[in-house]
Amino acid sequence: MSDNGFEPQIVGFLCRWCTYTGADLAGTSRIKYPPNVIPIKVMCSGRVDPSFVLKALADGADGVLISGCHPGDCHYSSGNYNALKRFHLLQSTLEQFGIEKERVKLTWVSASEGDLFASVVKDITATVSELGPLNWKSVASGVGEEKAS
């Protein structure tokens, strides 16, 4: 939780082979981390279509975490590279819509990195807490507002 008392809801799309297992390890190792990420198990980070992320945001998520195997380690060889490519295009798309791109994050966490998973969750929770709830009214940056900022 941040100073402003806001508890963000973050949807986490975690690849079954690496990050989801890493999250399990964080749990069994009793590492403490914020409860704000709601995990959704996917077969591969490459399975995460940009529309999943948009739907999560549109349906009320304040942030989205996509996390998969490290580059070179994807169990389907290149799914995570596709995730990486989509992620960068998605970022510029979000910016154009007027949504802070920091709300969506892509990370690589392996099955043995429980501590890394905990720190990824801490990071994104802190970032999104700082940003506050997604303000749909500021989405669509009016020309006038653009200049003011």
Partner: protein, 333 residues
């Protein structure tokens, strides 16, 4: 009196192209006039709103409604025609997905007003005069429709039976729709009619091979190979994410598809679908190079959502928020 089915055609926030598309039926337009009793068509015949107001509810058999909903007048006409029509059809891209007018949804109303009435280089407005909905003149009060905060689709405003996509709809498909209405062979309500289930690629004549690109280019920067898929040549062509039915008119003349027929069957968000396809084509595994290649996609939203921004997942969420605030403000009064 004739027993012919009654037909109405109306335009809201649109350019008039959909009306031209109906006229593009050429001599078949006479068959339409024979088959239907045209009871309202402001662009072609002299009807007034009060004529529609005087009609009995559900007395119009089919109303083809083109144009998006941007003003209070658009909304009034949409609700009126809904009340008077048995079958209301969202006709054309603006009505179905927001069309070009909905690109304005990337800006707030205030931003647009300031740009147009204060900031644009050709404007001199030291007194900061903005248009008003009511204005007193010696002869009385003048009233203008209110501009809404965002551009909406017809189905976001009233219930709609069918959707006919296209900017403008292909006249051959319009004819299919007319015949379906006449014969009564209409599909279940809620269907897209006058289009196909598969994508534009299915109708496109180009050879398709492997989609891997090192560089995206804009149409004016290259002379394309006229045998090969434009997307494979790095030209952003929306055919892969767009419903067919248009006859691939754009790619037939070597121009990329702009996506006016909207998402293919079962796709929730046309833009996301397209951007996903574009990203996967990038031929690199190096993050810096990926970013560099993607810089070639200069206007992702304007390209991927050109005709369907109002129906996008993100805009729908914003629109609901705006509607909620409006309702709240109304309740306070």
């Amino acid at each position: 009196m004739s027993e012919k089915p009654k037909l109405a055609l109306y335009w809201a926030a649109s350019c008039g192209g959909c009306e031209i598309a109906v006229l593009d039926l050429s001599e078949k337009i006479l068959d339409v006039a024979n088959a239907f009793d045209i009871v309202f068509w402001p662009v072609a015949m002299d009807f007034k709103t009060k004529d529609v107001e005087a009609m009995e509810d559900k007395s119009i058999d089919v109303c083809l409604f083109n144009g998006a909903i941007r003003t209070s007048d658009n909304e009034y006409m949409a609700k009126l025609l809904r009340q008077k029509s048995k079958v209301l059809v969202a006709f054309g891209s603006c009505s179905y997905g927001g069309g070009i007018p909905a690109l304005a949804n990337l800006k707030t109303l205030r931003g647009i007003m300031e740009r147009v009435y204060l900031e644009s280089p050709s404007t001199v407005n030291p007194e900061k005069i903005f248009p008003k909905t009511h204005y007193q003149v010696p002869e009385g009060e003048i009233e203008l429709p209110e501009l809404y905060e965002d551009v909406r689709t017809l189905p976001q405003t009233v219930d709609v039976e069918y959707f006919v996509p296209g900017c403008a709809p292909n006249p051959d498909r319009i004819w299919d729709v007319v015949q379906a209405v006449v014969s009564g062979a209409l599909p279940p309500a809620g269907s897209v009619v006058g289009a196909f289930e598969k994508t534009v690629c299915d109708e496109c004549h180009f050879n398709k091979e492997e989609k891997k690109v090192k560089k995206f280019v804009r149409p004016h920067q290259v002379i394309p190979d006229t045998n090969r898929c434009l997307l494979e040549q790095g030209i952003l062509c929306l055919g892969v994410a767009t419903r067919g039915g248009c006859g691939a008119k754009c790619t037939n003349v070597n121009m990329p598809c702009r996506g006016c027929y909207g998402p293919a069957e079962g796709v929730a968000d046309q833009g996301a679908k397209f951007l996903s396809a574009v990203a996967s084509m990038v031929d690199s595994q190096d993050e810096a190079e990926i970013k560099e290649i993607l810089k070639g996609v200069v206007d992702p939203v304007g390209t991927a959502y050109r005709f369907h921004l109002a129906a996008s997942l993100l805009h729908k969420a914003r629109s609901q928020e705006i509607a909620g605030e409006k309702a709240l403000a109304a309740a306070k009064h």
